[in-house]
Amino acid sequence: MNAPSKAVEDIAATGASLDFETIFHVHYERIARVIARVVRDPARAEELAVEIFWKLWRNNRVEGGKAGGWLYRAAVRAALDELRRQARRERYEWLLPFAHRSGNPEETHAASEEREQVRRVLAAIDQRQASLLLLRADGLSYEELAAALELNPASIGTLISRAQQAFRKEYERKYGKKRQPMG
């Protein structure tokens, strides 16, 4: 398992100056997972995660204690940019009769279709709202969200609420109302 040890997480929580490798081991898995929520291909998610850590390496102005927030912000932006690129490609592919979409059998499955719908909605709404929803879904607290996205902690609740409304409105505009589970 690649998850960081409790000791390393504790060091990171102190905000002490950490070397690059420690920061990498503390955050890599979670950053890759945040990206993988958005882009469909786990291998591509890891590529983007590597790209982000590479940028962190080059950007030595980011201090160890602030690296977590910087990484989440960069990760969610990179993932949403990738999602928008995918969405644009798909739009043009529909114009070409000989072009076909991914032949991955999983994508024919209903659950996969639902994932694609959610991704298209995230690609369509405001990037900051999409970032809030994705990082919130990853379990970030209000405080962590505020730090990662450089927002006022006092307004996080309101911003999340607006993001949820925007997401639902866009989803229902595109796909109609979801059937509610029975019981």
Binding site: M1, N2, D19, F20, E21, F24, H25, Y28, E29, A32, R33, A36, R37, V38, P42, A45, E46, A49, V50, F53, W54, W57, N60, A111, E114, R115, V118, R119, L133, L134, A137, I160, S161, Q164, Q165, F167, R168, Y171, K178, Q180
Partner: protein, 265 residues
């Protein structure tokens, strides 16, 4: 009754959770970050790269002056590149391991760089024990004294003088081990006197003061660093099967994994 937005969104977005069995591979990821830092270069590119070394250096010198993230970077100072070397001098004492080893690792270091000291004290012994002494890796030390470090070049002169007299490993080890003691005052001499006999130490001193060949050795390494796009210390150049890869010196676990990959295990 219709669910509220919060609950509805949480239940909708949860479909994006990655498969539970999927685990991002941190070791591979870290190796890729390091590989990204370097880049491969074919042998035929060497003459062309030598011709354009000035341009390469200018690009390299855009980095910051600070030591951070486990490395010391070149500052913006184009005069760093040494003048033409009159008589290139290959210092054989800087090489250890079998000449027929399938992998050659060149380590570029600066004696005043704290990360280099840490690397020499902690990581290099593991590399030597597991791969150099077993004939799998040939190791070459290369000097890369950064201009922001006042004593790095003097330290390199001391180490190379000791090397010419057959005491290179002892001198390098002592210089790095005692870095904290001489970094402020440059008194490397006093530290080497702890491990080298007084008679030999006098010869080292004479060479440090008068032997211009010592500067040529350093200058040659710095020029090779330019060829290999080195812009920080400690850095490694790993050569295997005609491919050269420049990377910031990684942790031993990552280096080991890469060596094993090159050895085809």
């Amino acid at each position: 009754m219709e669910r509220n937005d919060s609950q509805w969104v949480e239940e909708t977005i949860v479909v994006l959770d990655p498969a539970s069995e999927w685990r991002p591979d941190a070791s591979r990821g870290l190796a890729r970050v390091y590989a990204r830092k370097g880049g491969t270069r074919r042998r035929w590119a060497l003459p062309a790269a030598m011709a354009s070394v000035g341009g390469v250096i200018l690009l390299m010198l855009s980095a910051s002056q600070s030591c951070a993230w486990g490395a010391c970077l070149i500052p913006g100072n184009a005069s760093f590149l040494p003048a033409t070397i009159a008589t290139p001098h290959q210092a054989s004492f800087k090489t250890s391991g079998s000449h027929s080893a399938p992998i050659t690792i060149e380590i570029y270091s600066d004696y005043e760089c704290p990360y280099c000291a840490k690397y020499f004290n902690e990581t290099l012994p593991l590399l030597v024990a597991e791969y150099v002494k077993t004939g799998k890796v040939k190791l070459i030390h290369r000097d890369f004294p950064l201009p922001q470090h006042a004593w790095a070049k003097v330290a390199a002169r001391y180490a190379n003088a000791a090397g010419e007299l057959g005491q290179y490993d002892a001198a390098v080890s002592q210089i790095f081990r005692t870095q904290d003691l001489w970094r402020d005052n440059g008194n490397i001499d006093a530290q080497l006197l702890q491990v080298l006999p007084p008679g030999l130490m006098q010869k080292v001193r004479d060479m440090v003061q008068h032997d211009a060949k010592l500067d040529d050795t350093i200058a040659q390494d710095v020029r090779m660093a330019a060829e290999d796009h080195i812009n920080q210390t400690p850095s490694l150049v790993i050569e295997s099967k005609g491919q050269r890869q420049t990377i910031p010196a990684p942790a031993f676990a990552v280096l080991k994994s890469y060596i094993e990959q090159l050895l085809g295990k």
